[in-house]
């Protein structure tokens, strides 16, 4: 940014203005998403989660994990420690695969923001395709691990 500033003040100013405008228009949505997720995660305790997606929970547990991963929003550097912790608590590999892959690729909560950037059609199709990829990945893990 400093480099850009010395090279061309006007261009840099435009860039910063654009950045501020984008940020302030996104802030209300993002704040709402954060609080919604905060409420949901506080109500669902880790014990409840690992009971629902245990190694013996089978396809039902996988379905729960897919849905849970799709609707929650957890910082990615927390995702894998959480996944490992759930595994230790008795969750199955396939269920964890379903959970972490949808967690990172499918965003039901962020869908309004995604529609804002793309359009409804593209955003919905992208999320469906991401869910399909997660399911395929889960099935492969189920067979191989």
């Amino acid at each position: 940014m400093v480099f850009s500033f010395f090279k061309d003040r006007k261009k840099t100013k435009i860039a910063i203005l654009k950045a501020c405008k984008s940020f302030s228009s996104l802030l209300p949505e993002v704040l709402s998403i954060m609080m919604f997720v905060g409420i949901s995660l506080a109500i669902l305790s880790p014990e409840t989660i690992s009971r629902l997606i245990g190694a013996e929970s089978g396809p039902f547990g996988i379905a729960v994990a897919l849905i849970a991963g799709s609707v929650t929003l957890i910082p990615s550097f927390v995702t894998f420690p959480l996944g490992a912790a759930l595994l230790k608590d008795g969750a199955g590999y396939a269920q964890i695969a379903a959970f972490v892959s949808t967690l990172m690729a499918v965003g039901v909560m962020t869908l309004p923001v995604e529609i804002k950037y793309f359009n409804r059609y593209t955003a919905v199709l992208r999320n469906i395709s991401a869910l399909l990829v997660s399911i395929i990945f889960t099935v492969v893990i189920w067979r191989l691990m």
Binding site: S4, K11, I14, A15, I16, K18, A19, C20, S22, F23, S25, L26, P28, E29, V30, L31, S32, M34, M35, F36, V37, G38, I39, L41, A42, I43, L73, P75, S76, T79, F80, P81, G83, A84, Y93, I96, A97, S101, M104, A105, G107, T110, V113, E114, K116, Y117, F118, N119, Y121, T122, L125, R126, S129, A130, L132, V133, F137, I141, L144, M145
Partner: protein, 191 residues
Amino acid sequence: MISNENNAMNPGISTMLKKYRFAIGLALVIAAIYFTNRSVGTEAFGISVSNTKEMLSLLPPVFILVGLLDVWVPKETIIRDMGEDSGWKGILMALFLGSAAAGPLYVAFPITALLLRKRARLAYILFFLGVWSTTKLPILLYEISYMGLKFTAIHAAVGLPFFLLFSIIIEKVMPEDSRESLYRKAEMELP
């Protein structure tokens, strides 16, 4: 009329309230939970704050980066490297951009808007999002250390080809005018 003009000149409290109505509503819900169940309310508040902190540390740098790329990278460069006729180069660019990333997927959306504005091919933009959600490097290291190499390798080996396949399918099934309006929207407004 006069009050209208005032509103246009200076976005008043009422427009701010309207923009933040969901955020305010949810804050009230957290407060209500706190008064019925102290520990759950405190936890809800704590998780919201830590998520918001993460978001605040990630989004502004991304927006500044996007703003700078927007003014410095000419459209022609993106068309050449990631456009309709860029072929394998476009796929590699999407792989590189997606892997070099850090942060949750919603951080990638401003970047996709920029790529749309510069006329990158839609399939490659969607693939970029797929890469972002599978093999971004910093998180990949986390995944290997916590879930093991086998799990991570399967994740990448299954995820990447299928994301590419679905990206191309989505582009193909999308009506021409819908795709065109997507590009126009990205050019007209800065969401």
